[in-house]
């Protein structure tokens, strides 16, 4: 993408901020954003038009009292309005905090609480939203208790006379994104212009040698992979980016591949589950005339990458021109702006089998035929470094699993307003990712999370959210539930597994109790538990202070050790089920 569309170096000031990037792209006169709608019709806005619109939005925002440095929440779907607000805020020197639009079909209470908590954590006093979303945001404003105001951006505002655009510095705060999974205590990740531009430069350097074509993305714009991984790199080189609203992709995944084909998309990232969804949902007749040969960089990141899903994806779509080397596992996190490691773009993905027992007991990564298959997420991008450390912080040699620490030019400045939380993860220029893994043949392999967190469909969820949903449910001991996520063998995506200790409840067998738990979890969190395992009181492993050890519970479960005591009646039946993993797989359904 096209170095050749850049402006000649002598006429171009080095970009230091996101506003500079937009100015550069607008002046270059090439590229822009294409918005695909539900009938696959498209509207195109050149970068110069994006900038003109942002200028009008800026004067509207300034008239509403937006001042340089203000954090302002934005709630928009994938449409021009998102960019009007986003770049309008940047032009006003303010700091956008992109948030996700309201959920569909219910659970709005949870959405309202979460959104209000995020706005409070980001210190935002203003929320700018599109009209449709705004109709559901009144409750968020109410939860802000007078500290929060809502402004509805309905179409493009009339230009108004006003102050000149603000000129933030490279080290000023550029945007706030949320560490994925910050639903209980939202952690606002503060990113400077310098950090974001360093990330964008690293991405474009990495795939620029691939001769020119455009990007395609269905990823939400409030997600680092969508905004920092797709929009900014296209902006940086004045390229074209085609955007599909995420909800249209989810309903009809074929739209993604058809759009890639229609606009000759070269780069398009997605989390692993999206590749699985394509395998599950797309029928051949939806792919008539589709040619995927332009798709050179099919990034797979944001959650555990499955070798099996990628192999099946390659086989399934090879007849439509998909190149096996296109699928590129990557690793990154919002605290690093986005990407940290990339696999080689010129070869198919790499996976290795490792001795699961050695990995679990001694942390040694020993290649073993028939062992657990792990996918390499590649090597650090230029300028980035990865180090594996033990719990005490000492560096570990290759092929030893430990905590993944990363360093690089795009790390966050910190968690906004949370100095203690920042000090916990940012130490001497290194970031503790909270992920665990090892280096093997100089490439990074991930083994899990050091902290308890549920990773489901590319999003992190605190386990407490699921566990708390079961409080007060008849038949469940309060506070005696543990939620974990893991990748079952041969499965396409991570599964949510919930352990609950039961207490006597008349007329409630384990199957009925498991079903009640599933319903409760679904209603409270929007997450469908793949399995609910009912256990006898006192079965779950606990720390000396009585806290449930979730990962130990998962380990025991996987090793077949999590047996309830033998008792009469249904406990025996349950015990038999636990012995048979296959029976268990359907428990609670």
């Amino acid at each position: 993408m096209p170095a050749e569309t850049r402006m000649p170096a002598e006429t171009r000031m080095p970009a230091e901020t996101l506003a500079d990037l937009l100015a550069g792209a607008a002046a270059a006169g090439s590229g822009g954003l294409r918005f695909v709608g539900r009938d696959e019709e498209a509207t195109f806005l050149g970068w110069d038009e994006v900038r003109r619109r942002a200028e009008r939005a800026r004067s509207w925002l300034v008239a509403r009292g937006v001042r340089p440095g203000d954090r302002v929440g934005t709630v928009f779907r994938t449409a021009p309005g998102f960019f009007d607000a986003f770049f309008g805020l940047l032009a006003a020197g303010a700091v956008p905090v992109p948030l996700y639009p309201p959920v569909r079909l219910g659970r709005l209470g949870e959405y309202h609480r979460r959104t209000a908590a995020m706005l409070a954590a980001a210190g935002a006093r203003l929320l700018v939203a599109e009209p449709l979303a705004a109709r559901l945001l009144g409750e968020v404003v109410a939860l802000g208790r007078g500290a929060l105001e809502l402004a509805v951006l309905d179409g493009l505002p009339q230009p108004a006379a006003g102050s000149p655009p603000a000129a933030p510095a490279a080290d000023d705060l550029a945007l706030v994104q949320f560490s994925s999974g910050t639903t209980v205590e939202p952690k606002p990740v503060a990113l400077s212009h310098r950090a974001i531009l360093a990330q964008v430069a690293a991405l474009n350097r990495h795939w620029r040698h691939v001769p020119g074509a455009s990007g395609v993305s269905w990823l939400p714009l409030y997600h680092d992979m969508g905004l920092i991984g797709c929009v900014f790199p296209a902006l940086d080189v004045a390229a074209e980016l085609t955007l599909i609203p995420p909800e249209l992709f989810v309903a009809r995944p074929a739209l993604w591949l058809r759009t890639l084909s229609r606009y000759r998309g070269m780069v398009s990232p997605a989390p692993n589950f999206a590749y699985g969804l394509c395998l599950e949902k797309i029928a051949d007749d939806e792919l008539e005339g589709v040619d995927l040969s332009s798709w050179r960089v099919a990034l797979n990141g944001a959650e555990t990458v499955s070798a099996e899903v990628m192999r099946r994806f390659n086989r399934r779509f090879a007849p439509w021109g998909l190149e096996p080397r296109a699928l590129t596992p990557v690793y990154g996190l919002s605290e690093a702006s986005l990407a940290v490691t990339f696999s080689d773009l010129d070869r198919p993905f790499t996976s290795e089998r490792f001795d699961a027992e050695a990995l679990a007991t001694s942390g040694r990564a020993l290649p073993a035929p028939g062992g657990t298959e792990l996918v390499s997420v590649g090597r650090p991008l230029p300028g980035f470094a990865v180090e594996i450390r033990d719990a005490a912080g000492a560096a570990l040699p290759a092929a030893h699993a430990g905590r993944v620490w990363v360093r690089g030019p795009s790390l966050m400045s910190g968690y906004l307003g949370l100095p203690d939380a920042t000090r916990e993860v940012l130490v001497d220029g290194w970031l503790d990712t909270g992920d665990t893994g090892f280096l093997y043949a100089e490439e990074l392999y991930l083994t899990g999370r050091a902290k308890d967190v549920l990773i489901l469909r590319g999003r992190n969820h605190p386990p407490e959210e699921v566990e708390r949903a079961l409080d007060g449910l008849a038949g469940v001991r309060t506070g005696c539930a543990a939620a974990v996520s893991y990748r079952p063998p041969e499965a396409a995506s991570d599964a949510l597994l919930v352990f609950v200790e039961s207490r006597p409840a008349p007329g409630l067998g384990p199957a009925a109790l498991a079903a009640a738990c599933r319903r409760r979890i679904l209603a409270a969190t929007g997450l469908a538990a793949d399995r609910v395992l009912v256990l006898a009181p006192g079965t779950l492993p606990r720390t000396s202070s009585g806290k449930i050890r979730r990962r130990e519970a998962l380990r025991r479960f996987l090793d077949g050790e999590l047996d309830p005591p033998r008792r009469v009646g249904w406990w025996r039946l349950l015990w038999a089920m636990i012995r048979s993993r296959r029976a268990l797989a359907r428990a609670g359904e």
Partner: protein, 85 residues
């Protein structure tokens, strides 16, 4: 313009195609509890209903939607508006 039974039949077809739902779908079928709509499935389901039935379900319509029957009523209402407009 579709009648209520036609809308229910369409919803059943969409539940089968989009959610892989093999069971019967009636007006009394509960969205979350019976169709097991987590957030992703709910999104796919409602967007596909909008796409196929050419309606826009409005934010305020969604408050209090509990069953397939509630959903069909909203589709009928919005379809009428769509045709009238």
């Amino acid at each position: 313009m579709r009648t209520r039974p036609q809308i229910l039949a369409e919803i059943q077809a969409i539940a089968a195609a989009t959610l892989g739902w093999r069971g019967e779908v009636s007006a009394a079928t509960r969205l979350v509890e019976d169709l097991e709509l987590d957030s992703l499935r709910a999104l796919a389901f409602v967007v596909e209903i909008e796409n196929r039935l050419r309606v826009r379900i409005q934010p305020e319509d969604e408050t209090g939607l509990a069953t397939v029957g509630d959903l069909a009523a909203v589709v009928e209402l919005r379809q009428r508006e769509h045709d009238a407009g």
